[in-house]
């Protein structure tokens, strides 16, 4: 039974009756991010994407933690829960595990998800609760006004690191693959079409989907992803991941390295057969992990798209199955029978 839901992340969510539009998903609250913030583009992309899912708006929930991006739920005309720092995956886990009829989205940032909430993130991923986690990665703390984050590059000069940050950053994709995630993808705030395509697959995946979204914080870390947006450089450094397609752009190509990992070489230096063909459904996460490491050195070659999409039964579904099995085996619970169970005796 669990298998039949594979690839059907929304199978248990009731369908909307009429046609929905972007307007249906806009709340009446004034959006209050800094002008020019990448969050605007992501919000607009999500609002315009939601009608496509065709599910009841009232069965959609956005849960967030704390940070600039975590204001997101207030702007969606769905159910929403703006919670506390780092805890959104835990709160969403309780909600999604007890309500399989909901489409639950977690909105988080690099500090929220990878620093204070790191534990909840990795456990949500390994459990595979039916959640879509959108991780807005701007590589900085915005709301607290510009300290370095767990994804900031080493040596980052910020208010809290005037001589440069010392700690090696997390690579969110590597972390997610290592944490047993079934669905891992990366996209970018400025590319709505790509964002939509990734969100579509994330929603369809039954289980936890992690989508890293490169997001520009124009106030504290402006142009962090400029190279990926620059029309000149963009196509040279981006490696689009598409299932069944060779991983390459006009100048670069990926192949198996003698070290056991992957390497990027000049496209014209190898034969087409040598180029690695992307398989998002490969149960072995090794290549997905190796792909995630191609970011180093920074912005030389950046894979964008779905790294991994592998189905396994979702936690909420397995949990429901146990409840059903318990009832099937011994019938529904009877309170009197339970209370009078064990060794009882009667006094007349």
């Amino acid at each position: 039974m669990s298998e039949s839901l594979n690839g059907k992340g929304l199978a248990l969510v009731p369908k909307a009756e009429g046609k929905q539009t972007l307007k249906d998903f806009k709340s009446d609250q004034e959006v209050r991010w800094c002008p020019g913030c990448g969050d605007y583009a992501i919000l607009a992309a999500v609002q315009s994407f939601m009608p496509e899912l065709g599910i009841k708006r009232e069965n959609t929930v956005f849960v967030s933690g704390i940070g600039c991006s975590s204001r997101f739920p207030y702007y969606m005309n769905t159910y929403g829960f703006h919670s506390i720092h780092g805890r959104a995956p835990a709160i969403a886990t309780g909600l999604a595990a007890s309500r399989p009829d909901l489409s639950v989205w977690v909105i988080t940032g690099d500090g929220d998800a990878l620093s204070i909430g790191g534990n909840h993130l990795i456990h949500a991923l390994r459990r595979n609760v039916n959640l879509n986690i959108l991780l807005f990665n701007n590589r900085i703390y915005g709301l607290t006004k510009g300290q370095y984050s767990p994804t900031s590059e080493v040596g980052k000069i910020t208010k809290s690191t005037p001589m440069g940050s010392l700690d090696k950053p997390f690579n969110p994709i590597s972390l997610a693959v290592g944490a047993e995630a079934g669905f891992v993808a990366r996209t970018i705030d400025s590319d709505r079409k790509h964002l939509h395509s990734v969100l579509r697959e994330a929603a369809a995946h039954r289980g936890t989907s992690l989508v890293e979204i490169y997001q520009n914080c124009n106030i504290f870390n402006d142009n962090a992803f400029e190279d990926l947006k620059d029309p000149e450089k963009r196509d040279v450094i981006t490696l689009r991941l598409e299932h069944g397609q060779p991983i390459a752009n006009a100048t670069q190509a990926v192949r198996l390295a003698p070290t056991g990992g992957l390497e990027v070489v000049a496209r014209d230096s190898i034969s087409p057969e040598e180029i690695l063909v992307h398989d998002v459904h490969n149960p072995d996460p090794s290549l997905a992990f190796a792909l995630s490491r191609l970011d180093e050195p920074a912005f030389q070659h950046v894979p964008i798209g779905i790294f991994r999409s592998v189905d396994r039964p979702s936690y909420d579904h397995l949990m429901s199955e146990q409840l059903e099995m318990a009832v099937a085996q011994r019938g529904p619970g009877d309170l009197d029978e339970l209370l009078q169970g064990g060794d009882t005796w009667k006094i007349n």
Partner: protein
């Protein structure tokens, strides 16, 4: 040989042995026999701190105390009349609690040179005269057991292991306990190992027969059943009762139960128990940490479940921020704190009442939370239902303060039928509540309870957002308006202050006591037993027990002020006393001991008498 039967009105037995000797099981079985015989009883297990301390050492001693009587009793008893000591460590660790003249049944086989050395006995106390002031029964329990099992096809080790059943058989004879249920229990427990089942039954019977035939025991005892009110009874521990109370709360509220929990002593048994009841639609979630446990419970509550998290003090400290979120989002949530000795890790297997102020105030901001404390193991059932009632009716997190003593102690419980339980259901909000008939105001309050509507995802037209940021009255939109914040702080406080809690009842048989002894939580038994003693000795004392610690019963100030003196024993340094002094300007007399152990009735009787005498 006909043996003499002596009548007793009550007995306190302590079974003590190495943690591998099965003393908890032995105690449990003797308790079950005693319960089915119809005595009133109360039990107190005492676990070693380590899971497997080295065999035969003092830290490895595990014990189980049982008090049973032909009348109603309130505590597991101050001092044992009988000590069953399975090895020298068990004797040494418990002898100081044993009054002169008490019986000692010692397993002579274990009093070897090596075992004696391990605990620092130079000479065998069973053989010198050092135990002359007690009635010593030195019985070779191990070798008698092995001998009785000679014919069985089991290893010597398995035969030796059955010595606790031999001891149980002997004690069952000594106190005229019914044996059928124990035999049935052994057969079920070892159903998959028939040889072990048979040999354990044989060991149990051999112990029983040994008592009957040997001259070492010339007297057996009879303790008549206690006159309990008619009904079906079972023996129940606090953790079990609490878990069943939560199941009942789920049924009676018509809400699916979601438990988010992280294993912690002494609360884990609630998680274990609830995990067994999936037939009731109960979802149990073992989280990655304490914070995720309460977070998931709160997320489930947002989705319409009865969200519960269970923990002990260190876990409550970690959950504080999420409880604050539940306070401000005004969602129902039950936080169970099975208190243990602190601070920090403290003494996880020992009891204390030191989390009261944390439960009340351990969060940032003005963050009022109702607090309920059960008085006895079986009261944990009712307290859980009451906590759920308040959480659901007022949409608020509720703290339920049990403790290690209640959690592991047990007593007979008159099982209620479902029909007797209150209906605590409150329907979800499904319609817009704005004046225009179409808008939904998630923070528009019920005029009477001040509770906000509980509209759950999946309800069309009521889509709304909640969160930790201050909300505008009514709409729930983000608001930094100063007077709105002041209003919301006061509204949240007024909602909790207005919770309907029953009046404080005072027990004063003659009605003319001038001294009141007040308690809360698990001190109920020892305080009530102490008050009885004082009254038997002619002293006049009134007794009252607080179950609701926030809000207090409406009449509490009046009660406190109507006595010349108010004595308040607490297993902390005076936390409730601090509150009562501040709130009611009453000069409370505190009595505090923080030893990780419950009070003894005799000790408290002395304290009460002193206060009366100082009048």
């Amino acid at each position: 040989m006909t043996k003499q039967v002596q009548q007793l009105d009550r007995v306190i037995i302590r079974f003590a042995g190495d943690s591998g000797d099965g003393m908890q099981l032995t105690g449990d079985r003797f308790t079950a026999e005693t319960a089915s015989f119809g005595n009133d009883l109360s039990t107190l297990p005492n676990f070693p701190a380590e899971i497997r301390a080295p065999a035969g050492t003092l830290p490895g001693v595990s014990s189980f105390q049982l008090h049973f009587a032909d009348h109603d009793i309130l505590t597991p008893g101050d001092a044992p009349n009988v000590l069953v000591a399975m090895n020298p460590a068990a004797l040494k660790a418990n002898l100081s609690d044993l009054p002169r003249g008490a019986d000692i049944i010692a397993n002579a086989d274990e009093f070897t040179k090596r075992n004696l050395q391990k605990v620092g006995y130079d000479v065998n106390p069973l053989e010198d005269e050092s135990l002359a002031e007690w009635r010593l029964h030195s019985v070779p329990l191990t070798s008698l057991t092995v001998k009785a099992l000679e014919e069985f096809d089991i290893s010597k080790k398995d035969a030796e292991r059955a010595k606790n059943m031999f001891a149980l058989g002997l004690l069952s004879w000594l106190y005229g306990r019914p044996v059928e249920a124990t035999i049935k229990f052994i057969e079920t427990k070892f159903a998959k190992k028939p040889a072990i089942a048979k040999s354990n039954v044989a060991a149990f019977n051999a112990g029983y027969n040994y008592g009957e035939t040997t001259e070492a025991f010339s007297v057996s005892y009879e303790i008549k059943p206690a006159p309990l009110s008619a009904g079906v009874y079972r023996n129940i521990s606090g953790n079990q009762a609490l878990a069943l109370g939560l199941v009942a709360a789920s049924v009676q509220s018509k809400l699916p139960l979601f438990l988010g929990s992280y294993p912690i002593t002494p609360a884990s048994d609630i998680l274990h128990e609830l995990s067994k009841h999936k037939r009731f639609g109960i979802r149990t979630f073992q989280a990655e940490d304490e914070i995720a446990g309460v977070g998931a419970a709160l997320g489930a509550a947002f989705g319409g479940a009865l969200g519960v998290t269970t923990t002990s003090g260190p876990g409550v400290a970690l959950k504080a921020e999420t409880v604050g979120l539940a306070v401000t989002t005004e969602l129902p949530l039950i936080v169970v704190d099975v208190q243990r000795a602190g601070p920090s890790t403290g003494m996880p297997t020992k009891t204390e009442q030191t989390d009261l102020l944390m439960a009340l105030f351990g969060r940032n901001g003005e963050s009022p939370v109702p607090v309920i404390a059960p008085a006895t193991p079986s009261d944990c059932f009712d307290a859980a239902v009451e906590a759920a009632r308040i959480a659901i009716k007022y949409r608020t997190p509720v703290m339920l303060l049990s403790d290690g003593y209640l959690a592991n102690g047990s007593e007979p419980w008159k099982v209620p039928s479902q029909a007797e339980l209150p209906d605590i259901s409150v329907p979800y909000t499904t319609e817009p509540n704005g004046d225009d008939g179409t808008t939904f105001l998630p923070f528009k309050r019920d005029a009477e309870t001040l509770a906000r509507p509980w509209a759950i995802p999946g309800t069309p037209g009521l889509e709304h957002r909640i969160g930790g940021i201050e909300k505008a009255d009514g709409t729930g939109n983000i608001s930094y308006d100063p007077s709105n914040h002041d209003l919301m702080v006061r509204l949240r406080q007024a909602k909790i202050d207005g919770i309907d809690v029953p009046d404080l009842e005072v027990d004063d048989p003659d009605g003319d006591a001038r001294v009141l002894v007040l308690g809360w939580g698990s001190t109920y038994g020892p305080i009530a037993a102490a008050a009885r003693r004082v009254r038997r000795g002619g002293g006049k004392v009134a007794q009252a027990h607080l179950r609701h610690l926030n809000p207090f019963p409406k009449n509490i100030g009046e009660v406190l002020k109507s006595y010349d003196k108010v004595l308040l024993p607490e297993i902390n340094l005076g936390q409730l006393a601090l509150l009562l002094r501040a709130k009611f300007l009453v000069d409370i007399i505190s009595y505090n001991r923080v030893r990780g152990l419950p009070f003894k009735a005799e000790e408290l009787a002395g304290v009460i008498q002193e206060v009366i005498d100082s009048e």
